[in-house]
């Protein structure tokens, strides 16, 4: 048997593929073979390492040294220096690489350690290899549930964990599951909402690309808990690599008997199917998603009845977000008590954020609930780029809130942010520096809503159009002071009268932008 002394994990996700990760991988293998090191050093593909915008990123174990911006031209030097002579190649080392606490204790950078629950395996295992997921403790939770827990036990464990839905609204997951288990029905469905359309959000994509089996296991547990036999993953059509990986993962799980009949020698049967979306933001709303799954226009439905009572084809249906489901296996495996050790009392666990805009190191991070915005931007994100000053941030995507520097010390979790009339939403944090034009930013957000309004109800259809008209005027300094009141009035009406969360949520960015950056708007109106 070969003893492998070094492992090189190379991040293969949409971003790094673009930067030429495949070519670097080939070059590495070629170069290692040239020195006869190919038996001693193994090159493995993995999901996102959580670092974006830094070209090809790879990490060499056991040292745990991260390299970024690696090109094919760097490969000979990298192999000769680090892998042949054992001298890490300083010029390519990424000093701000994230640390993780749960899986390893390596010290690779200056940043705070990240407690990783959801992203535990991302960037550590090969997402296309089911054996690696199993070796990392995968599918233990479903085995534990099937051979020692009743469906009620599973629901109670999730309830006790205090997990809240990570799709945006923060509804208690355990409660949703309890409704689902109590709803009578021969046939029930589990849907994974992977229609991630909130601008600035790509956490679900990286979970899908980095650890697809975790999602399958989460769906299996949900199916077992509520008594469903079929699951669907509704995924954005634009997410090519995610679709490929989840489809492969499903096929492998079927081969291993982890999907299908008599799973792990129990009476439980469950299977999962992938459905592609076709480019409509509204389909992230659960009832619109269900309509789309049924092959129709993605118009939201009346609630009640909620999907939990009458969802897909009128059957009881549980809809959960990717990140929510990815939390479940760890909760079942380690118990609710363990999970409550992370985050805050009211909002336990961690949250995956995408941090973007004018920061030094944009990327994907996982932080405990209750972490302050300041910590996220200045410690994880490395502060503001080019030595500029922080001006504001847009939190939670387009349907989120603008905040200013006075909010930097607010603890970020679903419950706490509500008190500040903001929302955690999808976990997108768009950071803006002092040069940013807030009127222009709000204009962009409102154009987005106008484009994505599905046209089903009047307040949203006409409201978004009118908002765009007004903001376009303000942006070219042709607005009046009263226009600012109109913006608030219209969004208020939309909040009360719109059919679904899309129209209702427009008030958040508008009112927050006007609250914190009113001066800038006043300067543009007469």
């Amino acid at each position: 048997m070969n003893i492998v002394r070094n492992h090189i994990l190379i991040s293969i996700d949409a971003g790094t593929i673009m930067a030429g990760a495949k070519a670097v991988e080939d070059a590495l293998i070629k170069e290692l073979t040239k020195y006869g090191l190919d038996k001693e050093v193994s090159v493995l593909e993995t999901g996102s390492l959580g670092i974006t915008g830094r070209g090809v990123v790879l990490v060499v174990y056991p040292e745990g040294i991260y390299y970024a911006n690696v090109t094919v031209r760097d490969v000979p030097e990298l192999v000769e220096e680090h892998l042949l002579k054992g001298r890490p190649l300083k010029r390519l080392i990424l000093t701000e690489a994230p640390k993780r606490t749960i899986v390893t204790k390596e010290k690779t950078g200056l940043l705070k350690e990240q407690p990783r629950i959801v992203l535990r395996n991302c960037g550590f295992i090969n997402p296309e290899n089911i054996d690696e997921y199993i070796a990392a403790g995968g599918y233990e939770a479903i085995a534990k549930a099937l051979h020692g827990m009743t469906p009620e036990d599973v629901v109670n464990e999730v309830k006790a964990s205090g997990l809240m839905g990570r799709g945006g609204a923060g509804f208690p997951t355990g409660l949703k599951w309890e409704f689902a288990i109590k709803t009578p029905g021969e046939e029930k469905f589990v849907i994974c909402n992977a229609d991630e359309g909130e601008p600035g959000t790509f956490k679900d994509r990286l979970i899908l690309e980095g650890d697809p089996h975790k999602l399958i296991e989460g769906m299996l547990l949900a199916g077992y808990a509520i008594g469903a036999q079929t699951g669907f993953v509704y995924i954005r059509g634009e997410y090519g690599l995610s679709i490929e990986r989840i489809e492969k993962a499903i096929a492998d799980a079927r081969t291993y008997g982890l999907l299908g009949k008599n799973i792990l020698d129990s009476n439980f049967r469950f299977d999962i199917f992938v459905k592609k979306g076709a480019g409509a933001y509204i389909c992230g709303e659960e009832t619109a998603l269900i309509e789309s799954l049924e092959g129709k226009r993605g118009h939201p439905r009346n609630k009640p009845p909620f999907p939990i009572n009458a969802g897909l084809w009128g059957k009881p249906t549980l809809v959960n977000n990717v990140e929510t489901l990815a939390n479940i296996p760890e909760i079942i495996k380690n118990g609710a008590e363990w999970y409550r050790g992370y985050g805050t009392d009211k909002c336990p666990g961690t949250k995956v954020y995408t941090i973007l805009g004018h920061v030094q190191t944009p990327g994907l991070i996982e932080a405990e609930m209750g972490t302050t915005l300041k910590e996220i931007i200045f410690e994880y994100g490395g502060g503001i780029k080019d030595g500029k000053a922080f001006k504001g941030a847009l939190i939670g995507g387009a349907a989120g809130a603008f905040i200013s520097s006075e909010m930097l010390d607010v603890k970020m979790d679903f419950v706490n942010l509500r008190e500040y009339a903001a929302a955690l939403g999808s976990g997108a944090i768009l950071v803006m520096n002092e040069d940013t034009d807030m009127v222009d930013m709000l204009k962009n957000v409102l154009h987005f809503f106008k484009h994505e309004s599905c046209g089903h109800c009047v307040p949203c259809r006409l409201g978004t159009a009118k908002l765009v008209e007004i903001i376009d005027n303000i942006a070219v300094s042709k607005g009046k002071k009263e226009d600012l009141d109109s913006l608030l009035e219209i969004t208020q009406a939309m909040k009360s009268a719109s059919f679904c969360p899309l129209g209702q949520s427009v008030s958040l960015p508008v009112s927050s932008a006007l609250k914190y950056f009113r001066d800038e708007f006043m300067a543009r109106v007469s």
Partner: protein, 165 residues
């Protein structure tokens, strides 16, 4: 996807593609709920959704033509007019916008002399905008067919596009 790029003479080749369409949608026959999947396949095949393809799908899946049209017009992914051989999609999501993607878009419009939603005369490129493709770390981002380009500088656009014939 290869088929899409292979056609030099759209009129003639389109006819030849219909048997292939029948083959692709065979598994969806009589299943109205699989309309969107069938439309995805047809659009991949033709590059857009010709009326005749819509009619075939309507009949085979047992979905009224009005519903087919309704679904196509609802989703931004589907198109009923022929598109260029390559699709350029510039991201105007908030993260890209704050990093200046509006300038990218204007530059593409100027260089190709087309507006958003338009196709160049030689049918080489179509231009559209998208709202977030999840490549925010690489903002401003642009998609050409299925290739993502990040940190797009206005001056580099033509260098990127010259790789697509």
């Amino acid at each position: 996807m290869e088929l899409e790029h292979a056609c030099q003479c759209a009129q003639i080749n389109e006819e030849e593609l219909y048997p292939k369409l029948e083959e692709l949608i065979e598994q969806h026959k009589g299943k109205p709920t699989e309309l969107i999947m069938a439309l995805h396949k047809a659009q991949n095949l033709f590059g857009y959704l010709p009326k005749k393809a819509q009619e075939i799908i309507s009949e085979r899946l047992n979905v009224p033509m009005s519903t087919v049209c309704g679904v196509i017009s609802f989703y931004s992914f589907f198109s009923t007019v022929p598109k260029g051989r390559h699709s350029i999609r510039v991201c105007l999501g908030t993260a890209c916008y704050v990093r200046g993607s509006q300038h990218t878009l204007e530059r593409v419009e100027k260089e190709l002399n087309i507006k958003v939603g338009g196709t160049t005369e030689d049918r080489r490129f179509s231009l559209d905008v998208v709202r977030c493709i999840g490549a925010c770390g690489l903002a401003p981002a642009m998609l050409v067919d299925n290739d993502v380009y990040g940190r797009v500088k206005s001056t580099k656009i033509m260098d990127i596009l010259k790789n697509y014939e």
